[in-house]
């Protein structure tokens, strides 16, 4: 009697389990509220537009080079995840760092700074207005904060800390927190290649 009840149930569970295993991961949705055009300067002082990223995926992060903790940590982790891809896969993924501190992060400064992580990283700076316009489009929030009296730095920034995954058309497909899971990020990148 018991076997009569359990066998069909077991078969059903196995069938569902196998179906779940074989089901492809749903495609990352396109975020239609974030993203868009921008015109900035790269670390070589050349004009760089949103369309210059098209044709490849992009992992994009916003920060500033005088940030001692989260920015270099996130940059290092993002570059580290990118390096776990195969050579062929890396060829299809841009790494982009956008500063919101154009006063200190000149193209020359950005170039030397980013070379430390990997010469492939595209560094973007520009006028404060152009950076602010881009940040608005991408939903990046940042605010220049005056340091307290006697502090070592004249000013710092408070800021959001997402890593953006853009597809080959420059559309935002996913946002990762700065303490992202590397395996998850790599899997999502590969799902779009």
């Amino acid at each position: 009697m018991k076997a009569t009840v359990w066998r069909p149930l077991l078969a059903l569970l196995l069938t569902l389990g196998l179906a779940a295993c074989s089901e492809p991961k749903p495609e990352l949705p396109v975020n239609t509220r974030l993203g868009g055009d921008f015109v900035l300067l790269d670390q070589n002082g050349q004009t760089f537009e949103a369309r210059d990223l098209h044709g490849k995926l992009s992992l994009m992060f916003f920060g500033f080079t005088h940030c001692p903790d989260i920015c270099p940590a996130t940059l290092a982790r993002t570059v580290g995840a990118w390096k776990e891809l195969s050579d062929a896969e890396r060829e299809q993924v841009n790494l982009v760092f956008v500063t919101f501190d154009p006063v200190r992060d000149t193209p020359e400064h950005l170039k030397e700074y980013l070379n430390f992580f990997d010469p492939s990283v595209i560094g973007l700076t520009g006028s404060a207005d152009d950076i602010a316009a881009m940040a608005r489009r991408y939903g990046v929030v940042y605010l220049q904060e005056a340091a307290e009296t006697g502090a070592e730095q004249e000013y710092m920034f408070s800021h959001s800390d997402f890593v953006y995954l853009l597809d080959q058309q420059g559309r935002v497909r996913k946002l990762f927190k700065s303490d992202f899971n590397t395996e998850e990020l790599i899997a999502d990148v590969r799902s779009l290649l």
Binding site: T65, H66, C67, P68, D69, I70, P72, A73, A76, H109, E112, Y113, L114, N115, F116, F117, V141, Y142, L143, E145, E148, A151, E152, Q153, M156, S158, H159, S160, D161, S178, D179
Partner: protein
Amino acid sequence: MFAACFNSPAGAVRKSAGAVRKSVGAVRKSAGAVCKSVGAVDRRRKAFAADQPLLQLPLLQLPLLQLPFLKSFITCCVVVAASVSHAELVIEDAWVRAVPPNSRTTAAYFTVRNSGDKEQIIVRASASVAGAAEIHGWIETEGRKKMVRQHQVPVPAGAQVVLQTGGLHMMLFRLDPVPAAGELARLCVGVADQPDVCADAIVKMP
């Protein structure tokens, strides 16, 4: 003076006094020899622990040590040492984030353990590779993360505080020169009216 006293043959005497045992590590720190781990301190304590009362140790049976003034001196050392408020802080697992050569700032991370029975409050920090150091934490408000300097960092008795990425961290300013990966940096923290507690930290890319 304490160090000289404790390093004398009579040093074994004070180590047998229960009240003094707790302060051994910190007194040594005040003499400039910073203990790098709680485990090492504990091992030393166990090695020297003796259950005999202070004045019944064989050492004090020696003729020289029978002199009243010497007994008084030893007792004085023990009493003074026991009355000093010691910062039983130890820095462990310290490292410094390797940053580009044109960086002026970086961050250091470590665990501060308080093996004492009183809360200790860190009020200063320094690093051999930086012109200045401060301990900062993060707060998140309106979608933004903001660093906030921590003028005081309490380390509860018998507990530890962990400085790590995205949390409390030691900011190092005016790097000169910028330390390269693989090098060592000396990190120190201090509580009020106490000598600094320091440890060597490896510079690395995590």
